[in-house]
């Protein structure tokens, strides 16, 4: 008699087929790689898929639709109702984002379903949210970590944060990048985007202050001999519109609207000689790791997450002056070697095979895991005198792995 496949629910994404962002691409690849092994159901937003598009099925996975937006304030009912429904029909819930976290204590209390939650960076800190939203996200993150069987961060620096704040061990699973294409510019491309014929620095991101777009633009205003191409949603905010007005007239700066065609985007990105990354908010950023997979050398904002993503092998800046110094002084040879190093890292860590395998392993683990591991060994709970009598006093007060020693 064959065992029934484990039923997994994927909650919190906009839906499949993927046409929005990082979470959706992740969902797509999970379904592709794990759809045979597990019986998967993905919850989607009715608002993003027209009636014709709603097929109810994607590869091997079932699709269920909810009449809410997956983002913004509607994400709370969106996630909550998905969770409740999944708790009745699936064995394990894989939840992306903490909007529905308030309901998890009840799920733990009344059912034996397994909960894996991905906490998606340190959302409550981000300035895009108002005060009420920040309070809710702060509290929801705590509930999510406390009441899930396994919680996932997408970056080791976030694992440090959860260890520091909650004393428990997060699992780290990053993103895959090998869906990008290696595309050389065609004759048509060179006509439409003449800048690809010459060396240029490249950046693609949402145009928000926390991505330091202004800092990079100001630096390249000074570096007038170096070209910079930035693709982003300039028209979506006052910040973006102001920047565009201010810098569009510069000859060496080219600001493009969002390009949704993967092929074109990869062509422009792949033809650059260096990737500039300004993100300061939490987590492993898909656009950064995709650039690494292209084999592009990376000049990035020196926050812990970016350093961890690039394994400290990229060039880091803190302000406009740093960017200018780096670009003026870096040698082509260094850039080429760095590009190879980035590609090596991406190939080793950021492929969908690896990501799917990690999720697979976690799902198997959570079906059996009783308690979330803490960051101190259980030996530390023993009486201090007892430990000392066994010459093991040092085990009582150990540094957490997240405590970095300052080297002066």
């Amino acid at each position: 008699m064959t065992n029934r496949k484990i039923r997994i629910a994927l909650i919190g994404t906009v839906g499949l087929p993927a046409k929005y962002g990082g979470f959706e691409t992740l969902a797509d690849h999970l379904v592709r790689n794990l759809g045979d092994k597990y019986d998967m159901t993905v919850y989607c937003s009715k608002k993003r898929y027209s009636k014709q598009e709603r097929s109810g099925k994607y590869l091997n996975a079932k699709l269920k639709y909810l009449p809410f937006n997956a983002n913004g304030i509607q994400s709370i009912p969106y996630d909550s109702i998905s969770i409740m429904h999944a708790a009745c029909s699936c064995d394990a819930l894989l939840i992306l984002g903490v909007a529905g976290a308030w309901i998890l204590p009840f799920i733990r209390l009344f059912t034996t379903k397994r909960i894996i939650i991905s906490i998606d960076g340190i959302e409550w800190k981000r300035d895009k949210w108002n005060l009420l939203a920040k309070w809710y996200l702060w509290w929801a993150e705590k509930i999510a970590v406390r009441y899930s069987h396994i919680d996932i961060s997408d970056n080791e620096s976030i694992q440090d944060y959860t260890a520091y704040r909650y004393g428990s061990l997060s699992r780290v699973i990053e993103y895959g990048t090998d869906h990008i294409l290696k595309v050389s510019p065609t004759f048509e491309d060179k006509k439409k985007y003449p800048f690809v014929k010459h060396p240029y620095a490249f950046k693609v991101c949402r145009i928000e202050p926390e991505n330091n777009v202004h800092m990079i633009l100001e630096a390249f205003e000074v570096l007038y001999q170096h070209s910079l191409v930035i693709i982003g949603n300039w028209e979506n905010s006052t910040y973006g519109r102001n920047l565009r007005d201010r810098f569009n007239s510069r000859k060496n700066i080219i600001l493009l609207d969002p390009i949704y065609d993967q092929c074109t985007l990869d062509m422009i990105r792949g033809s650059a000689i260096v990737y500039v990354h300004g993100h300061s908010a939490g987590g492993t950023n898909p656009s950064l790791v995709e650039a690494m997979y292209h084999g592009l050398p990376v000049i990035t904002y020196g926050v812990s997450y970016n350093r961890t993503t690039t394994e400290h092998k990229a060039l880091y800046f803190r302000n406009k002056k740093d960017i200018i110094d780096i670009i003026r002084n870096v040698e082509v040879k260094t850039l080429k070697e760095m590009g190879k190093a980035m590609k090596e890292i991406a190939g080793r860590r950021y492929t969908w095979n690896i990501v799917a395998e990690k999720y697979d392993h976690l799902i198997q683990k959570c079906m059996n895991e009783k308690k979330k591991p803490g960051i101190q060994p259980s030996l530390a709970r023993l009486n201090e005198q007892l430990l000392i009598s066994y010459d093991a006093g040092h085990l009582k007060y150990q540094n957490g792995f997240f405590e970095k020693r300052k080297i002066n």
Binding site: I122, W124, K125, L131, K134, W135, W138, W139, S157, D160, Y161, Y164, R165, S280, G302, V303, S304, Y305, R307, H312, F402, K404, K406
Partner: protein, 361 residues
């Protein structure tokens, strides 16, 4: 019924008196050193004279003496006057020279005992948890605890310009209305005078030529409010116009925010092993300031909350039994405090995370 416009006269008299007296006392205070020097914990930046309490007390006293009911006032409320004066004096000495906490506490308990002995006692719980009248030793104990508690609660509340001023005006206004309904002329004049004097104080407290209430002022006001509250309960049965239990509820409502906040602060300090009288930054107004509100808005927000509590109880007391009303009052307060603490935690963690994020390897 007493004519209402008679009540405006003491108010205006006290107001004018305090407006005249404050500048005088202010310069005197600067000369003798009765000023509040800023430190890391306090929210003000320059030294400020601590004359609010003295001026309110003296303006009120003079107004009372001018009012014509002074002889009958002394007859009925002599002990309250004397103990209030003692509290004021101790407060002034504390402001200038810093008295040890245990001495202050002892004097507060003694004054409270004097009040209780003079017959101003909480004699019944009016049906909370089904308890009505309580035995005499408990009456003494409860009265003393309440008075000392209220006095210290108001002392703690005095952290932002205008906060205590607004809250005491709301409190005295409520008591004024209650004593008006009860037909107690003397108390009406007292409250009306204090309100006037406090308005005069606020005019300076919220201006550039600032003065503070000081420990003297907050203790004095807290004492008079607390004792008056108990006094009014004794005026039973309000000539039949108001149920004593309802009056009890309304009076409790005025004190809920200061008292519960101070209880929470004491418990919080004891929880981390400190004495409840250690100074820290965990009062309600500190928490509000962390949400980004400025001083003025914080004072107004907390005052409106007190006003809201008082008004809410006026409504509730008609429909809902006492025990449940009290729970309904306390619950939002607890929720609000929880949210404010979440905010405080969040802000502390934000800076911890910045350290983690910006560490150079």
């Amino acid at each position: 019924m007493l004519p209402i416009h008679n009540l405006l006269i003491p108010c205006l008299t006290a107001l004018i008196l305090s407006l005249i007296l404050i500048p005088v006392f202010r310069s005197a205070a600067i000369r003798i050193g009765l000023i509040d020097k800023p430190n890391h914990r306090k929210v003000h930046k320059h030294p400020v004279p601590l004359v609010g309490g003295i001026t309110i007390a003296i303006s009120t006293l003079i107004t009372l003496m001018l009012s014509g009911t002074f002889p009958s006032f002394i007859q009925k409320y002599l002990i309250m006057l004397i103990t209030a004066a003692v509290m004021l004096m101790v407060g002034i000495i504390d402001d200038r020279f810093e008295i040890k906490t245990s001495y202050r506490l002892f004097i507060q308990v003694s004054c409270a005992y004097a009040i209780a002995s003079s017959g101003v006692l909480i004699t019944s719980l009016y049906g909370i948890f089904g308890i009505h009248s309580i035995p005499v030793p408990f009456q003494y104990a409860l009265t003393i605890v309440v008075i000392v508690g209220v006095v210290n609660a108001f002392n703690l509340m005095d952290g932002i310009d205008g906060l205590l001023g607004f809250i005491s005006i709301i409190g005295f206004l409520t008591l004024l209305i209650l004593s008006f309904i009860a037909g107690n002329y003397e108390l009406c004049i007292l409250f009306s005078a204090i309100i006037g004097a406090t308005i005069g104080f606020l005019r300076f407290n919220l201006s550039k030529r600032r003065i503070f209430l000081g420990d003297a002022g907050s203790i004095f006001i807290g004492f008079i409010l607390g004792v008056s509250g108990i006094q009014i309960l004794k005026i039973v049965p309000f000539q039949g116009k108001l149920d004593p239990a309802s009056a009890f509820l309304i009076i409790v409502a005025i004190f809920i925010i200061p008292v519960f906040d101070s209880l929470r602060v004491y418990l919080g300090r004891m929880k981390v092993g400190q004495s409840p009288f250690t100074a820290d930054k965990s009062h309600l107004h500190h928490l509000f300031l962390l949400t980004g509100l400025n001083h003025r808005k914080t004072a107004i927000t907390i005052s409106i909350a007190t006003l809201f509590a008082a008004l809410l109880t006026c409504l509730l007391q008609v429909f809902i039994p006492l025990t449940i009303s009290i729970i309904l009052l306390i619950a939002p307060f607890i929720f609000l405090t929880k949210v404010l603490f979440i905010n405080k935690d969040m802000i502390e963690w934000k800076s911890k995370i910045s350290d983690l994020e910006d560490a150079d390897y």
